[in-house]
């Protein structure tokens, strides 16, 4: 019996229900909406809403169907180390995100090169794509790699056409929410609540 595979399966059961996908998608739509309404600073509060939302929906939908499992201490240490690494990378790329916002907000991006001005609408979506790839590495949920790729495609389209970042982010969020919603529906239909 391969214990490593059992451990991976146990850890994977935390994310297999699709709830993390659906909630991430809703979060992305929220980021796009806040961008549109010029409330981008409020995105910092999103995790304060989304993380409890994930915990509550997991307790109501996933645990009664798939059961509860607490990962091993080794896995928890590994995850927190990866989270620290991700945060470090996140803090490194944050200045680029801020720069992109500033460039976007300036009319015509005076004082910046043409290429940077054209790149600016794509940068936020690229950064969100990087976060989605990081989530894939952190959770081991492969679907997040697909979402990261979709983000890069959206960013490339943004670069070519100059579409506003909020449109790219909302579109990305809508796709992730739809895929996540499909996973949640599939999970519910294949995991009925058993009376014990």
């Amino acid at each position: 019996m391969n214990l490593d595979r059992l451990e991976e399966k146990a850890f994977g059961s935390l994310w297999d229900d699709g709830l993390i996908d659906a909630i991430s998608g809703i979060g992305l739509v929220g980021v796009g909406a806040m961008w549109y309404f010029d409330l981008i600073q409020l995105t910092a509060a999103l995790p304060l809403i989304l993380i409890p939302a994930w915990q509550i929906t997991r307790r109501r939908i996933a645990i009664p169907r798939a059961g509860f499992v607490r990962p091993s201490v080794e896995r928890q240490v590994k995850s927190s180390r990866r989270l620290t690494q991700s945060l470090a990378i996140g803090l490194t790329v944050l200045p680029f995100f801020v720069a992109a916002i500033i460039i976007q907000m300036r009319d015509g991006g005076s004082g910046t090169s043409e290429l940077l001005r054209r790149l600016a609408p794509a940068i936020p979506t690229v950064i969100l794509g990087a976060l989605l790839f990081m989530t894939a590495a952190l959770t081991g949920r492969h679907a997040f790699r697909l979402y990261g790729l979709i983000a890069l495609v959206a960013a490339f389209v943004g670069f070519l056409t100059g579409i506003d970042p909020w449109i790219q982010i909302v579109a990305l969020g809508a796709i992730v929410t739809a895929i996540g919603g499909y996973h949640v529906a599939a999970f519910i239909s294949t995991h009925p609540i058993r009376e014990l």
Binding site: P64, G67, F68
Partner: protein, 104 residues
């Protein structure tokens, strides 16, 4: 020389912990050995055993002091979680070590 090696293997088989050797209990212990704790529903889904089977094997493992049972609530639903005790982990590791020696 081979006979001595064979005898050694026989002694190893005799030394095997019968409580861990039983396939369903071994499966339950294997699942518990890779997590901090897991509940009944998780074990039901992960092992494919029936609830009656899990209940009776868990009772034996708890009686032997291999598994600790914690009863609580998740919202309004009762939540019973199982975890491997130090003794249980030792027995499981020891069993695997012995089996590996027999196989090799």
């Amino acid at each position: 020389m081979n006979r001595i090696a064979d005898l050694d293997a026989v002694f190893k088989v005799v030394e095997l912990d019968r409580l861990v050797h039983e396939p369903a209990r071994h499966l339950l212990l294997a699942h518990l050995s890779v997590v901090e704790e897991a509940d009944f529903t998780y074990l039901l889904n992960a092992t494919g055993l029936s609830s009656g089977n899990i209940s009776s094997h868990m009772a034996k493992l708890e009686e032997a002091g291999y598994v600790a049972v914690r009863k609580g609530f998740s919202g309004k639903r009762p939540l019973t979680t199982f975890s491997l005790t130090k003794k249980g982990r030792g027995a499981f590791d020891n069993y695997r070590r012995n089996m590996r020696q027999i196989v090799n």
